[in-house]
């Protein structure tokens, strides 16, 4: 990939914030993937109760304290990252292909298809994301899967819009025009000529969005409309922990900070990529 070619890396590493972002993201991903080995109490993510150790304030044993049934908050936050990343990846895996292909089709063919797809896209874009997700959740049972569906439903239009604009400008470039002249099929032109030229923008947007998808997902579970307890989830932890304020502050403050950190990480990394690829979003 371009990123690790020495010149690209040099450009990227010149901005300490981008490097910080990369560090945060890699660290969190690593911890989440290997949570079973890296957390002090991996069993606390599953069915686990230790009443004598409930509501302990942060200490060297329990870095972020324990909750009302004696589970270690630190371990659960790391497992919560796993839930968040899982949600982010799945949502983008659904939204990006749908959004991208619609954008490609609309941008490349133009005309009526363009009008229909882009008007629908505009409607979706005009509704505030959280409001849209909430109204979808109003009709679904609150589960992780449904939360993913709801968030995906509101996310694809952003990719349609992005890819549409890119396609419209790329399609008049010389190499596309010449491909058409030599009789390449539409399929070939769209997927072999245009799509690769959208990839830099797409990768950057996906990175930035990863953070925001996680943020929206945690908002839904904060309202009780997303991931259900006892699955470790950051939004749920803040929501449950906030019931114990102010005396037992660690149950909401640390998961809250954890959300902040992961979104920040993806944001900084995305900004770094934006500078590196020199793309507009």
């Amino acid at each position: 990939m371009k990123l690790f070619k020495s010149r690209g890396w040099y450009k990227f590493s010149k901005n300490p914030l981008s490097v910080l972002g990369l560090l945060i993201v890699s660290l969190i991903v690593l911890m989440a993937v290997f949570a079973n080995y890296l957390t002090p109490f991996p069993e606390h993510a599953g069915p686990f109760v230790d009443i004598p150790n409930k509501i302990k304030s942060p200490s060297s044993t329990y870095f972020f304290g324990t909750d009302k049934i004696g589970r270690d908050s630190f371990s659960r936050i790391i497992f919560g990252y796993r839930t968040s990343l899982y949600l982010g990846v799945i949502v983008l895996c659904i939204a990006v292909p749908i959004g991208t292909s619609l954008g490609l089709v609309a941008g490349y063919f133009g005309g009526k298809i363009d009008a229909i797809i882009m008007r629908i896209t505009d409607i979706f874009l005009s509704i505030p994301p959280l409001v849209l997700a909430l109204s979808i959740m109003a009709f679904l049972k609150p589960t992780l899967t449904n939360a993913m569906i709801a968030v995906s439903m509101m996310w694809w239009p952003w990719y349609t819009r992005l890819v549409y604009n890119l396609t419209r400008s790329i399609k008049n470039e010389g190499f596309v025009v010449s491909a058409r002249i030599v009789g390449a099929s539409n399929f070939h032109i769209i997927f072999k000529e245009i799509l690769p030229n959208c990839s830099a923008s797409l990768i950057t947007k996906i990175t930035l969005d990863m953070g925001f998808v996680i943020l929206i997902g945690s908002s839904l579970s904060f309202l009780g409309l997303g991931v259900q307890p006892p699955t470790p989830d950051l939004g749920t932890m803040v929501s449950q922990g906030s019931k114990y304020l102010p005396d037992i502050w660690w149950l909401s403050v640390f998961p809250g900070l954890a959300i902040l950190v992961i979104v920040l990480g993806f944001n900084l990394l995305g900004d770094g990529l934006k500078d590196l690829f020199d793309v507009e979003l």
Binding site: S126, I127, P128, P129, L130, V131, L134, S135, M137, A138, F139, K141, G211, L215, S218, S219, F222, L223, G224, L225, G235, V238, S239, S242, L245, P246, W249, S252, V253, G256, L257, I259, L260, V263, L264, N267
Partner: protein
Amino acid sequence: MIPGDPARMALGPTATQEMVEKYRDKLHLNDPIHIQYWFFIKGITKGDLGESVYTKRKVTTDVSTYFPATLELIIFASLIMIFVGVPLGILAGRFKDKAIDNISRFISLLGVVTPSFVWAVFLMIIFAFYLDILPVAGRLSQDTVAPERITGLIILDSIIRGQFNVTIDALKHIILPALALSLGALGQASRLTRSNITEVYDKQYIEMARAYGYNEFKIATKYALKPAMIPTLTILGLDFAAMLGNAFLVEFVFAWPGIAKYGVQAILYKDLNAITATTMIIATFFVFTNLIVDLIVAYLNPKIRLSGK
């Protein structure tokens, strides 16, 4: 599609099946969805949105009780966003890469990456518990009686009625939720203003103005601000509407008796009429906001204003 039977919820656990059926008939729940929709539309034309199975009152009563609280919160949050965010952006744009620019960048970054419910929790801990200078929750203190309703916006009503002690109490209560709600948008507003300002300052006519020897303040206010504000305004309009979504989160933390809290309860109770009404309010609010923004932009931008002529 909706799991759960609203009629059963409305009547409670001891109602007989026969009564549930009767109630379902009354609510037209046994009819196909398009017939239900027809009844709903018919109701709207008569100003009737049906009955909420959750509060068992007319949805219109509920909405007129809870919406003003949310509106007040959003207006206040927007004021913070505009009167803090925009000046911060202007300063940051004028003093690019100086300390103020970095501060504004930091604030905006924090604002963007932190969900508003996390802000709400942090602000609550700091100002309501640790410093103990602001109230924890609600719109008014226990011993303060709300002014007689005019608009439902307590701050406005109390000013109109001259009950300034109520105004002060209401202001104290609204600061934290409004701040929590605005911080995300505030950062965005300031960054946006900044980038538009810097763009405008790179334009030739600014240099021309400088060459004519106009002072910096006049350049800033007369020549730079207006064109820079046009794209900013559009986004601010979007932010204003998006706050309605985030209000759901903030109202929960601060026990704010608004439409968002009502809406979530409605979702949990499968209260179809209430959900529809809430969604409609949000949609209307959204369209209305965009309309106003468009009008202001048209006013500011002669290109749009004159294009029709």
